[in-house]
């Protein structure tokens, strides 16, 4: 079974702190990874993606993520969070063999305190 796991259900930090949201996947060959953000009451919005090349990818609003084949991970990071970053963050995987659908993790709720 091809899966994606987000080990932290809820992360709380203070404004200005750095944060890392973890994502691990079960390896199944060629892989496409992405992160999405969901503010309360809204649909998901794309942050960044990785398919090949430089394992560190930059996204919107200062987010970046690093792909690690050895760790089967694609953790999301931000150096200095803002209160508006409070939202649920979803890691998503599209395996080459499944082809046509993104499989989403359960999500991590990020709470940024002022």
């Amino acid at each position: 079974t091809q899966t994606v796991s987000q080990s932290d259900a809820h992360v709380t930090v203070f404004e200005g702190d750095s944060v890392e949201l973890r994502c691990n996947y079960s390896y199944g060959g060629s892989i496409y990874l992405s992160w999405y953000i969901q503010h309360h009451g809204h649909g998901l919005q794309f942050l960044l993606k990785y398919y090949s090349g430089n394992p560190v990818v930059q996204g919107v609003n200062g987010f970046e993520a690093e792909f690690s084949k050895s760790d089967s991970s694609f953790h999301l990071r931000k150096a200095s969070v803002h209160w508006s970053d409070s939202a649920v963050y979803f890691c998503a995987v599209n395996y080459g063999s499944s082809g046509n659908k993104l499989i989403f993790g359960i999500g991590t709720l990020l709470s940024v305190k002022p």
Binding site: G43, L44, F90, I106
Partner: protein, 114 residues
């Protein structure tokens, strides 16, 4: 560009009634996805269309659920004989070519089955 439009935003049905959810993808996008979101299950893939053709419906419950895309400008998800366990937020997304591209999500339709 109005983004992906989903109507209605909220729908309340009685047990056993039919519910039809509508999605208007971004103009020019050839791929349309439907997901179901609940607290317990998270984001579940339902079905995927490309160029209006059904490509992957592996996530669709075999009974009572059906999806169509009669033209480029809209897709519908129909649930017959709704049950309380169908209560969820149903999200529609579109992308330019498929699952390896950025998905643009609508705000979702919150279905409540009483």
């Amino acid at each position: 560009n109005a983004g992906v439009i989903q109507t209605p935003r909220h729908k309340v049905t009685g047990k056993g009634q039919e519910a039809t959810l509508w999605c208007e993808p971004i103009s020019g996008h050839s791929a349309v996805f439907w997901y179901r979101q609940t607290i317990v299950q998270g984001l579940e893939f339902l079905t995927y269309f490309r160029n209006q053709a059904p490509i992957d419906d592996s996530g669709m419950p075999k009974e009572r659920f059906s999806a169509q895309m009669p033209n480029q400008s809209h897709s519908t998800l129909k649930i017959q004989s709704t049950q309380p366990q169908d209560s969820a937020v149903y999200l529609c997304a579109s992308s330019s070519t498929g699952a390896n591209e950025r998905l643009f999500f609508g705000h979702g339709t919150k279905l409540s089955v009483l």
